[in-house]
């Protein structure tokens, strides 16, 4: 469903992404890992249109995303979360979801209910999403006043609210403790069960190894390995990228 072909992004002389290829299947959780500065977040930003690629193509269901303006990509079916939490902190939790909300195709509400924000069906749907995210009783709180973990969950809920074909999670576990990471694992698996397709960029191996179907490993902007979590853990090149040389890597990657 998402196909990245020979993606290249240079910042001046820095080759942040240098010839990346991968394909994500429908309903799959796809991991993108690599050491710091290997181009993972740049890849997410290229798919979302924050940066324009130097070269290469990004296809979503066969449609070239490069031809779609960055602000139209959410309607094309790409939603994301951010590495550093980005929320409209002066809006309430409810409003943050309301502005991200897209109705299921075929059940769109007219612009009148859009304008005045009075659609009972949509209110119920948003409330359901809040319950799923464990924010059911926080609807009227300002997003900026939520606890860190709750803000992360709100970001996730917001990405789901736009009914995307593909959700990009940019280091969702950054700064979480192990209980929160376990909770996040459950949420990502639940999203997969609901049929969502996820691209997960992450450092925290506990999350990556437990939820992904396939993984691509990046180093210096180039893919060095691709495979299932087990295959990746046993890959010599990956161990070298993370630990310097294979001799020292007795403990494995996790």
């Amino acid at each position: 469903m998402l196909e990245v072909r020979n993606l290249v992004k240079h910042f001046g002389g820095v080759r942040a992404v240098d010839g990346l290829d991968f394909k994500i299947q429908q309903g799959e959780v796809f991991g993108l890992i690599g050491p710091n500065g290997s181009g993972k977040s740049t890849t997410v930003n290229l798919v979302c249109g924050v940066f324009a690629p130097t070269d290469g193509e990004i296809l979503l269901d066969g449609i070239d995303l490069g031809a779609i303006a960055p602000h139209n990509r959410v309607d094309a079916g790409v939603a994301r979360t951010f590495q550093n939490i980005r929320l409209f902190s002066e809006l309430t939790v409810w409003q943050n979801l309301w502005v991200a909300w897209r109705d299921q195709p075929g059940q769109e509400q007219g612009w009148v209910s859009n304008w005045f924000g009075r659609s009972p069906a949509r209110r119920q749907e948003i409330q359901k999403l809040l319950e799923f995210s464990g924010l059911g009783d926080k609807a009227d709180h300002l997003a900026g006043n939520l606890a860190f973990g709750e803000q992360r969950r709100l970001e996730l809920a917001r990405a789901m609210a736009s009914k995307p074909k593909l959700i990009l999670l940019d280091e969702p576990a950054a700064g979480m403790n192990s209980a929160e990471i376990k909770d996040l694992c459950q949420r990502v698996l639940a999203m997969k069960e609901m049929g969502m397709t996820v691209l997960l960029v992450e450092h925290v191996m506990e999350l990556v190894m437990n939820v992904t179907d396939r993984i691509t490993v990046l180093n210096f902007g180039k893919p060095i390995a691709q495979g299932t979590p087990i295959e990746i853990q046993n890959n010599k090149l990956v161990q070298e990228a993370y630990f310097g040389s294979a001799e020292n890597a007795h403990g494995g990657v996790s």
Partner: protein, 299 residues
């Protein structure tokens, strides 16, 4: 009504247009030091239209608003890739550029034995619309307040619409707004243009009321005052800038014994507010809080 009171109120109403125009730019997350130029351009255009071309005052004011909006749109297009301090500096330069243009603008005509028209630094004298139509100060106050109320009605309906919500989102975080399907560039351009229209309209009224305008009136201090009123009042609602205007001109100027110390007190007030309420008196946070309390009570 007391003449003095009426003229202070009229002044407040006119400056409110400037403060509201600064507010509209602040909403999309930018600081403009250039609104006074749109105010000045509006003043000159309205003055020329009514005094030289003999147009009806309605068309004169409309032309002023359109002139202000066009200049603002040009500024918006020129600064399309700038933000933050770079945008602010550009607005200041652009405004000074327009003021220098006015300083060199001369096309005077003799109408009924009076020299009328922009005359360089001497300015534009004999804008006699207010006398020709026998407007007393109180009549003019009524006209200006009516215009302000119409503008406020427009802004409040905007405030309840997704447009203003979108603008605030863009102002808060353009990258996030973009990822939610909003076009930050379009929002910025529209709001900067709208701010130019509001300032231009206010400038037109200012020209009619003052009967004499000159480029020196539209210097950067005027813009900074307008900006300060919006910042002090807060960006939560269009009421904020009005409150700022009321606090400075209304409260301080009307207490005559303070007149000499007005700027000192004003400066102190700004400093205190920046320490204790950096988001302004009516901050977005406060508005959001009040709205959700109101909702809870009525559900």
């Amino acid at each position: 009504m007391d003449m003095y009171l009426a003229s202070v109120l009229t002044n407040m109403t006119l400056i409110a247009f400037l403060a509201l125009s600064a507010y509209l730019v602040l909403v999309v997350g930018e600081v403009s030091f250039g609104q006074q130029a749109f105010f000045g351009i509006g003043a000159y255009i309205t003055a020329s239209a009514t005094a030289l071309a003999g147009a009806h005052v309605f068309w004169g004011l409309l032309a002023g608003a359109i002139g202000g909006a066009s200049c603002a749109l040009v500024l918006g297009l020129l600064t399309i890739r700038l933000s933050g301090i770079y945008f602010a500096i550009s607005t200041l330069c652009f405004a000074e550029l327009l003021r220098f243009f006015l300083l060199h603008l001369r096309f005077t005509q003799s109408v009924d034995g009076r020299i009328i028209g922009p005359d360089g630094p001497e300015g534009f004298s004999n804008i006699r619309w207010i006398f020709e139509n026998n407007y007393q100060v109180t009549d003019f106050l009524l006209l200006a307040v009516t215009c302000l109320i119409i503008l406020l009605i427009v802004l409040f309906s905007l405030e309840r619409s997704p447009i203003m919500l979108g603008a605030r989102m863009v102002g808060n975080d353009p990258i996030l707004a973009q990822s939610q399907g909003l076009n930050p560039t379009r929002y910025r351009l529209s709001f900067i243009t709208l701010s130019g229209a509001v300032a231009g309209f206010g400038g037109g009224l200012f020209a009619l009321f003052n009967t004499h305008i000159e480029p020196a009136m539209f210097g950067v201090m005027l813009g900074i005052h307008g900006l300060a009123y919006a910042v002090i009042g807060g960006l939560g609602s269009a009421i904020g800038p009005l409150l700022g205007v009321f606090l400075d001109i209304g409260l301080l100027e009307s207490i005559r014994s303070l007149a000499a110390y007005r700027m000192i007190i004003f400066g102190g007030l700004v400093a205190l507010l920046l320490v204790f309420r950096p988001e302004g008196i009516i901050s977005p946070r406060l508005v959001s809080h009040l709205k959700s309390r109101w909702r809870n009570r009525h559900v």
